[in-house]
């Protein structure tokens, strides 16, 4: 009787879980190591980009890197949890413009290309990030 109860409990628990998550984008980006290289490449590109580098001064760049890696990992369907602030909160007071957003997109694209990420995977990630623009600009 007790073993039957256990089976029922485990079956219910299994059914309650989400269907297997599609992590193909996460794998296309090179998983944790690949995403870390992309984010670091993007931050290096930004450091050399006079259009937007001022928005990254006086912040904890290591923390930013870690949160960006988490975020991209989550968006790509990877086994991560995003522990950072909301997009609205983290961009508050910066008055970012559509041009600033696009400059960051270009730095991300360059970083992905430098890592050899195939164009369809790049586009899939950009399609996941594009809807965030409204939460980022004009805050």
């Amino acid at each position: 009787m007790r073993s039957l109860l256990l089976v029922v409990v485990f079956t219910l628990a299994a059914c309650a879980q989400q269907p297997a998550k599609d992590d193909s984008l996460y794998r296309d980006l090179g998983e944790q190591a690949g995403i870390t290289r992309i984010v670091e490449g993007m931050l290096l590109n930004i450091a050399a980009d006079p259009r937007i580098v001022r928005h990254f001064e006086n912040i904890d760049i290591v923390r930013l890197r870690d949160k960006l890696v988490e975020q991209i990992c989550v968006e790509a369907g990877g086994p991560c949890t995003y522990t950072g602030d909301s997009m609205e909160e983290s961009h508050k007071g910066q008055n970012l413009t559509p041009s600033d957003f696009n400059a960051l997109v270009e730095n991300l694209q360059d970083a992905m290309s430098a890592q050899g990420v195939p164009m369809p995977a790049q586009n899939r990630l950009l399609a996941r990030l594009a809807p965030m623009r409204a939460q980022v600009i004009d805050r």
Partner: protein, 285 residues
């Protein structure tokens, strides 16, 4: 005469050095259409000239040649946009009648016109907003060699037409590659763009004409697509065909675009099967 190339080089240098902004993404300024508005080759898109985003200026200068079996069209022009909201453009077209002028001993061997354009982005965004980017445009056209058009039935040498067009870039929309969709309607009575005047003996009212294009971006620098444009049929002396083309666009950076196309222009002023090559070079600032 040797001054001219130096003046042009100086002008380009000056334009390039001005702080024209580049807030939009590569290729999202499109090329310059043959009527001067930012777009594809034979149709305008909802995007505006250059790469300016909110609060920024953008501009294009371009030269285009279309060479068919019996004709040649040369176009040069400029487009200036501000705030990713409003675009002003000017284009001069010169249509070389070639075979037709020789065969018929015509009084003139070319037809020219000026096109002044205004385009306003109404709402939406090419990539980001919920809604696609939708723009409204008007074009005022002045045909400058009206003798031949008047002899074949054209009613006037000057006219204004309007169009509304929507554009959207779907990220990963074509098997993972970015897909650009564009569609619009035009309200016009221009014969062969206006090179053969406006209105005709057969029909002298504006027509609602559909136009559109589809392109795939293999990466941010290369685009391959097709365009289609309905044309009116106002003149009795010859049929006027809808136009189509297959184009390859190259955007190596935000200052240069090159478009090569194969155009099917059908019947133009009695001569049929006017297939040809289209080449356009654009500088953006």
């Amino acid at each position: 005469m040797t001054q001219l190339p130096r003046c042009i080089a100086l002008l380009f240098g000056l334009l390039a050095n001005l702080a024209w902004a580049d807030g939009r993404l590569l290729a999202t300024g499109g090329a310059s259409s043959i009527e001067g508005a930012a777009g594809g080759g034979i149709t305008p898109w909802a995007v505006l000239s250059g790469y300016g985003e909110r609060g920024e200026w953008g501009a294009d200068v371009f030269a285009t040649r279309v060479e068919t079996a019996d004709y040649r069209l040369d176009v040069a022009g400029i487009g200036v946009a501000f705030d990713n909201r409003i675009e002003l453009s000017y284009a001069r077209q010169r249509f070389d009648l070639g075979t037709l002028a020789r065969n018929l001993n015509l009084p003139e061997n070319s037809l020219s016109q000026d096109i002044f354009g205004l385009k306003v982005r109404l709402f939406g965004d090419l990539i980001y907003d919920q809604l696609p980017q939708v723009s409204l445009g008007i074009q005022h056209k002045r045909q400058k060699d009206f003798l031949i058009p008047s002899l074949v039935g054209a009613q006037r040498s000057e006219d204004t037409e309007g169009y509304i067009t929507a554009s959207r870039l779907i990220l990963g929309g074509a098997f993972g590659y970015n897909l650009l969709l564009n569609g619009g309607v035009r309200y016009s009575r221009a014969n062969e763009l206006g090179l053969l005047g406006f209105g005709g003996d057969r029909r002298d009212r504006h027509s609602v004409l559909k136009e559109g294009s589809v392109a795939v971006l293999f990466n941010p620098r290369w685009a391959l697509g097709v365009e289609y444009r309905e044309k009116p049929d106002n003149l009795g002396f010859a049929g006027e065909s809808d136009w189509a083309d297959l184009f390859l666009g190259y955007f190596p950076n935000k200052n240069l675009a090159v478009v090569l196309a194969y155009a099917r222009l059908g019947e133009i002023a009695t001569l049929d099967n006017q297939d040809g090559v289209y080449l356009s070079v654009q500088g953006s600032f």
